[in-house]
Amino acid sequence: MKKISVDHLARVEGNGGISATIDGKIVSDVKFSIYEGPRLIEKLTIGRTPEEDVSMSPRICAICSVSHKNAVLRAMENALDVKVSPKSYLLRELMHMGEFIESHSLHTFYLALPDFLGFPNAIAMASKYEFEVKIALEMKHFGNHIMKTINGRYIHGENAVIGGFGKYPAREELLQIKTRAIHFMPFVFKTVNLFCGIDYPDCPDAPTLYACCEPGDNKFGFWGDEILLSTGKTFHRDDYKKLTNEFVVSHSFAKHSLYQDKPYSVGALARIVNLGERLEGEAGKMYKKYYSSKWKSNPFFHNAARSLEILYSFERIPELVDEILKLKEDKSIVDYSAENGKGTGLVEAPRGLLIHHHEITDKLVSQVDIITPTAQNAEDIERYCHVAAQKLLDEGKEDQIRDRMDIIVRAFDPCISCSAHMAEVRNAPKNNWKMQLEEVTQKGDPAFIGVGNPTLSDDGAGIKLARELKNAGIQDVLLESEIEQDEDLWINDSDRPLIFLDAVDFNEDPGKVTLLPLHLILNNTSLSHRLLPTVSGLINYSKMKNTYVLGIQPDSLQKGNQLSAPVEKALNEIREQLTNIREQ
């Protein structure tokens, strides 16, 4: 078995790595690891005042600090029932534009473009593309300038507070922002043409689900009170957990998210896929000119999508400034009196949907949940790397895997410091295994394979269960030792689900049962080490998508052939359930 890895991803914000394990003909175990350590941000602000929380929680991430600021403010103001003045509202949108311009121009020109033009970094690229590098720097500077003017500082500004702003920027400063935005337009068009025109490498057809904020009023925008999926389904902000079931993986301090057990993507591409039709003006024209269905299944088009958003932001700035200057002066902060409440704030950070949920009890913060875009993208990053690596391996281009994974990860513009925050543990994807099993059986009649080591007490659970099922007369049940002989199982009927029965340590009470898609487990448990040698020769990637593990949490793995009482009890329950299903 050999491991290909990019130990330290360069040109991303933060400290992370991606690795893939190759065993014979299969790429397994793709891990997007976050080396950033745990910061426990969501616990840090418990017991603090809402104001302190608003100051501290954006410190999760520097590059998205304004998005975090707007998200925490929206959450707090929902929680405390504060309605800011129209002027504050628009100024916040304006500073959000600043962050998009800053972040997107940094990513597209400095972090991503060298990949497609073949340079190790932007400074080296400057020798040949001096104009682009220089003007892009000015564009980035302009984005920063907007954030500083409105929020007080480039990074972690403090002027935006619950109820509005400490102090409004001066009229002259806003007019200057408007003028400069207009001056940039020729270069912005150039940017769109450049990034939409790049001949991006093909990515294996791996469509995904896209999620972003629903800005409302059929408009394009960077925040809203609902989440919109590419299927057309929407969730109210308070129901965000229906989308993002965060869970812990062992190779990263960033949690992962799945929607109905499937990875999904957020970010520029998600917004353009879901909302691109709504773009107006020049951005709308450019969208019509460049957008095609192939954007949907290739994450490299995130870069093209970013360029459209840069254009959108530059078009929006003069409108915003005009609207702001039409408004009368007001007291910049609205007072509030609420002492209790809970609220959720949704915004689009440059790299995708960002969710802040804050609860206040007796004037102090009592609960915080922050779901960052990179945590949501982590599963899709691994999946895209997986399929791309598998394809290159199939084509005999093993030597390209490393670089390709590097570029794919970067395409998501992962913000690693952001994702390594952490939330409360909700045990591994919390699925009711019985319901899950029914769903699986609806796809086809499953075959079962018992695996394990009967000489290590509970580790023998899978083998014992398989034997009992056989004895109960259930068809298509095999033992680990029998699977190689049964070739039919692997060749025929690839739609037929396959369920491994095994003792799986997933950090639960002994005897607890779970049913997980195999690809998920392969990423992170000791099970993978056991299954891989057995399975990798026989199972192909498409089959793996339809393969599951029915895991039983062991109590003891000592030497011995006795199962512990809770595991025995679980076996009985499973047997009963399976017999019922088969009888139906």
């Binding site: 040109r11 914000e13 080396y35 745990p38 017991g47 005042t49 480039y154």
Partner: protein, 259 residues
């Protein structure tokens, strides 16, 4: 690369990456920075990094995993001068304010007992908990002017003399009304200068995000806020938000006294 140029490495441990990002925010100076020094390693902006002997290492972020301890020790061995770059490296950052026990409890609440396969987590600490640090540049994140001044001085082989002073100094340069006198819990007198007093400039109290100022008088500020009617716990919390491990002794002393 030019042999006369100082070899510099910029490293990120655990933090928000804001201090490294700040360097890229020196848009107009960036090309000059890269021309003036031989930037050997800077993961955020370049792929062709070389990990060898260094004249200066700027280390951002706090130490939160065993791998980071190893990485840090390796950097120390390779670099003549190590700079704690930003609040997290200097005092441990906001993530360093938990005591050991509190940290373990909260860690468990989030990750349960799952063994991490890639590294073992440790309680967040500033880098001087593990290695000798030559220079400190606090800030959350480090200020642009502050960084450029520091960087150009270091390039000349003459790092700025240590001259700690609180936010109040700049705050007065900026002619702000003292918020403490208005009964607003401003941490300016306790907080290292360098931010340009942006919060008071916007009529907002200093949050302390540059970390504790050397030579400050926390006892006086503590009693002053107490006298102004603030709750003791609230004062302690506010003072500890950004002080990492560095105000711990001060609070210990109060704990003893209150017993």
């Amino acid at each position: 690369m030019n042999k006369d140029k100082l070899k510099i490495g910029i490293y990120e441990l655990t933090g928000c990456a804001g201090c490294a990002l700040l360097i890229t925010d020196c848009e107009m100076e960036l090309i000059d920075i890269f021309n003036a020094a031989d930037i050997q390693s800077f993961l955020m902006v370049k792929s062709d990094n070389i990990e060898g002997e260094l004249d200066i290492a700027l280390v951002e972020g706090s130490v939160t995993t065993e791998n980071e301890i190893e990485e840090l020790k390796d950097i120390r061995e390779r670099a003549k001068v190590v700079v704690a770059f930003g609040l997290c490296a200097s005092v441990g950052g906001i993530q360093a304010r938990f005591g050991n026990k509190e940290w373990k409890e909260n860690y468990q609440k989030i990750y349960g007992d799952m063994e991490m396969t890639h590294t073992k987590p440790v309680q967040s600490k500033p880098i001087d908990a593990y290695i000798d640090v030559d220079l400190y540049l606090p800030g959350c994140p480090v200020g642009k002017e502050q960084f450029l001044h520091f960087f150009t001085r270091v390039l000349k082989g003459a790092p700025p003399e240590k001259y700690p002073r609180p936010v109040c100094v700049t705050c007065k340069y900026n002619e702000n009304d003292c918020l403490l006198n208005k009964g607003i819990p401003c941490l300016g007198p306790l907080t290292a200068d360098g931010c340009g007093s942006i919060c008071p400039n916007h009529n907002l109290p200093c949050t302390g995000c540059w970390g504790p100022a050397e030579g400050a008088n926390p006892t006086s500020e503590y009693f002053l806020l107490k006298e102004k009617g603030f709750d003791i716990e609230a004062i302690k919390k506010r003072m500890s938000n950004y002080s990492g491990t560095k105000l711990a002794e001060f609070f210990e002393q109060f704990k003893k006294e209150s017993k």
